[in-house]
Symmetry: C2
Subunit: 118 residues, 2 copies
DNA sequence: CAGTATCCGAGTGGATACTG
DNA sequence: CAGTATCCACTCGGATACTG
């Protein structure tokens, strides 16, 4: 324990992986393997029932790329085609995302069941 | 899979456990078992090098309490003494928090090592 | 000690329009 | 298709002061 002097590992993970839409993005990447830009918008809209703007999506993807978690592959075609996929390092987030999905589902179970009981 | 129609488990977990200071709070609760209000301020200051205001801390703790993750025990003394601890349900976040700590440490290792190498 | 109340500036992120 | 650019309303959360 007490690695790295006094830099907080929790804070580190939060700032890199748990900002805004990043966990959802990682979730879909773990699921689909490869995802295109517009596909992200669709997937996110479907799973979260919320809309992510292009600006936001771009920003989040860029940050993930800069942190070495995803690749951005640009196909020089017309119309443009860009694919995103996890780097090996990005794949190390698998367990974490799985835990999050699991916990979320458990909580939803719990919440939904607690009709009637009190 | 595909539990709960189309409510996103990732979003659910994020909204309950990963807002602001909550993961750090949970982290310290898993570590210490029982934590007092002022102790939280100290622990958080030490581990994150940031200051959490009373307002923020109160708010976060209240939300965690309302979601059934922690207990708030008030000792009717003067001066007041309030202790926080995880409920059984709160304890189910252990694996997740551990994963986050682990990943954070790994990332810090990686980052620190990548001096010189490239 | 463990909060509550108020004020307010900075930053976030949505909406919208434009581009290669 | 996959972005970029701009504008701005709104929220968030820090600072500060007060309280049982």
């Amino acid at each position: 324990m007490m690695s790295h002097d006094n830099i907080c590992p929790v804070d580190t993970t939060l700032s890199i992986l748990f900002k805004k839409w990043k966990p959802v993005i990682l979730f879909h990447l773990h699921n689909q393997g490869t995802v295109r830009f517009s596909e992200f918008q669709r997937l996110i809209r479907l799973s979260t029932k919320r809309t992510i703007t292009k600006k936001m999506l771009t920003q989040q993807l860029r940050e993930l790329e800069e942190d070495g978690l995803i690749y951005r592959i640009i196909y020089p075609e017309v119309p443009p085609k860009v694919e995103y996929l996890l780097t090996d390092y990005g794949k190390t987030t698998k367990t974490m995302i799985e835990e999050i999905v699991k916990w979320g589902n458990d909580h939803l179970d719990k919440t939904i069941r607690s009709n009637g009981t009190s």
